[in-house]
């Protein structure tokens, strides 16, 4: 599983990245977490409001920092 955090590097994007890493550790899921910070790269996913979350190439979230429970749900749904 590859998880991509989309965001230019503001607080919200860092919060999302940290929560994602926490959830992965809790769930004991192996995944590569990468970040896309350049604006064209973010726009290529059709994301308007950062941060966004992409799991295995599919955009699953954008427009705010999701709660820890929501992230767990998104990861479970993509497995």
């Amino acid at each position: 599983m590859t998880i991509t955090v989309l965001g230019p590097g503001c607080t919200n994007c860092r919060t999302l990245e940290r929560r994602t890493l926490d959830v992965l550790a809790q769930m004991n899921v192996q995944a590569a977490v990468e970040k896309v910070t350049d604006l064209d790269g973010i726009a290529a996913y059709g994301v308007m409001r950062t941060p966004g979350l992409v799991i295995d190439g599919k955009l699953v979230w954008q427009g705010g920092v999701p709660s820890v429970e929501k992230i767990r749900e998104l990861i479970t749904a993509s497995r």
Partner: protein
Amino acid sequence: MKEWVKFALLAAAFAALYAAPIDAPIVVSSIAAGLGLLQEYARLHVLTCLVPAFFIAGTIAVYVKKEAIVRLLGPTTAKRIAYPVASVSGGILAVCSCTILPLFTGIYRRGAGIGPAVAFLFTGPAVNVTAILLTGSVLGWDFAVGRLVAAMVIAVLAGLLMASLFRGHDKKNADGSFAAGMGGDLPYANSTVATFFLLQLGVLVVFGMSMDPLLKAVLVVAMIVAALGIVFLKFRKEHNLEWVRETWDLTKKILPYLFVGVFIAGIIEVVVPEEVVTGLVGENTILANAIASTFGAFMYFATLTEVPIIHKLMGLGMGRGPALTLFLTGNALSLPSMIVLFRIMGTRQAATYILSIMVLSAAAGWLFGELL
């Protein structure tokens, strides 16, 4: 940082301290003026304006329903709707500058196209709630309203101009996904959020009015109690935590720079000779507005710092017209933002955008200076 760079910086700082004429009158009076202005802001503007303004900005960031607004900037929206929405949404969607560029890129590449994208890009930083409120508190509400209205009008004009010049751009845009957001808007009635917003705005406005102190205190306390009532009775705990976190985040991001800006503004008053200011931008001429426009375009003002600096420049004799011009270009353009623009839009479009903003801002400033 490399070790030798650290050493060089340290040595330079030490050499400067060694040689600096610390007790020269100009140094002493500069520092005194900087501190004096900081105290003035701390006493007059921090509690009564900035604190409520940050809470208001936090409210917008958390409680205002943004997905509906972003949807109106999509590729299928009629232009007569997209332009006005783009020109006001900057203040609602982009409380911090790091959200402006992703949204701009999205609208530009996938959404309503180059015109509304440009309108949004310009008003994003210019129609910033905290900046408008601080402008009103420091320089008067005619200035705040002038700044707001001029920014919106210029945004639409610049957008229309870009769209007509670069008609080919939007054709390539038609395909591709445009997702407004998946966060799901919060489950609160619009009227609740609006009341909450207006109560906080009320606190700020009443603080700024001259009235009987007892009446003022009663009104302010009543509005704070009512706002807290909404917080505890209507809103969920997790969203309130988000609201406090967002407010605190903005405060941390903006306040330190503002204090530095205020200190610098105090020094400007001592160091910059009055004749230079009155000579260059004292009268409301075309040339003076052009100078203010160019200076603002290249100068970088961190959010809100333009207010104390323009405040002090006006104290030195800057005219009202050039001051408004400087407000308009000072926020919207800076050397770093221009570099990003050239990368996203390409040379021709970016240069046209920057030039049209500079010309329109100078014109708006001139008009403001003539009429009011």
